[in-house]
Symmetry: C2
Subunit: 268 residues, 2 copies
Amino acid sequence: MAELGADNIAQGMRYATAGGKRLRGFLALESAALFDVPQARALYAAGAVECLHAYSLVHDDLPAMDDDDLRRGQPTVHKKWDEATAVLVGDALQSFAFELLGREGAGTAEERVALVASLAKASGAQGMVLGQAQDIAAETAGRALTLEEITELQANKTGRLIEWPALSGAILGGADPEPLRRYAEAIGLAFQIADDVLDVEGDAATAGKALRKDAEAGKATFVSLLGLAEAKARAAALVQEATAALRPYGDRAQTLCDLAHYIVARDK
Amino acid sequence: MAELGADNIAQGMRYATAGGKRLRGFLALESAALFDVPQARALYAAGAVECLHAYSLVHDDLPAMDDDDLRRGQPTVHKKWDEATAVLVGDALQSFAFELLGREGAGTAEERVALVASLAKASGAQGMVLGQAQDIAAETAGRALTLEEITELQANKTGRLIEWPALSGAILGGADPEPLRRYAEAIGLAFQIADDVLDVEGDAATAGKALRKDAEAGKATFVSLLGLAEAKARAAALVQEATAALRPYGDRAQTLCDLAHYIVARDK
């Protein structure tokens, strides 16, 4: 029934996963490289987390959510197609993330099921979705959030899906995940602070999305709570924390160190 | 941050999974019972498919999709809360389905990963979501669907998520899934024909949802294509097919036989 337009879903899935920084997929590959996990195996986790992330953006951009017209410099899925397609494309991308982790190449059965269980938890009602709900609730709370509340909200909304790929290599390598957990926590928070700085200082054309939305909406951000200078100082301190956490891996973690620096220096 | 209303998600998840026929969960338990799989283990698959099904209803009821106000005799999630909550509740229910299958009690690692992979496939862009997209595309196609097209659409939209629990017991029991696949295919189609009959003959208060929507929308259904009498005759023939497929299991499959009969006799 392709003539009935049902292949919109496959097209929308490809469209929604094209472009972007691929930060989460990159983390999965670099995490795996630390433990000599073959890249061909880690690509399943990398693909899964990129699909999961893309689904969250497609749904977050919906009119009922953040109502964004532009994503990665292109019309959002509900603008290019329609809302129903965007709902279904997001749904299908979530299914596909778990389908990828279920495939034989993704690891042993034990490893695959550990990846599935941890990704489901990181993305669900106690992870990313909770963060999105907290974000929406904050908009209608009638008061600005405290620094503690924003930190918790962002740890859920953004942090959990940065932590998962960072730890995925340790799962596949049978290694202690603790250093990577500390690394991921630091870069996750630094990432969000940098996003808030970018929202104030950035260029919309370079960023590929609308900026200054938070300030216009009177939304509390790390910049509004800390001021620009202090926010930047915190982000820089978090980068130091992140690189310190990687010390056990020595030179092998150089790319992950570089990534921590990139996260606060990026312009998109 | 419960005071910020973020616990709507957990409440919405409970709300959306309350009530209903629990047909799919029941199928998972009965399928497992055929192969002496402990019920405690099969409950994970049963819970997972009910969460998956509930998520599909919450998203399908959204204004951009089927735009329904009533489900199981109660306001739909977006009516009771709002659209953003409904999007997120559906998303979280999908995550939770896979989280359940990832838990230790759900089976060996091999069994769990087989359940995850097959559920992801049955629910995603080549399964249920495809069926929903075909259903939406059919509404704007400018022509009525053929019998072949409706059969394919319904096999995707409804059939795949009836087949999955019916086969889940065979996965957990290490048994040949073929007889159950034939059973599930027959009851899946019978279920949808019965739904179309119910839409014409049923009582909205008993059914707990709006009826006559398809006829009012001029939508092709099994009843509009076959006529009421022939639609009923087909459903009855499918019930015979379904029970015949269960013969290898003898008396152990009595409840599944009864279920096939119930599917076409139900009033909601």
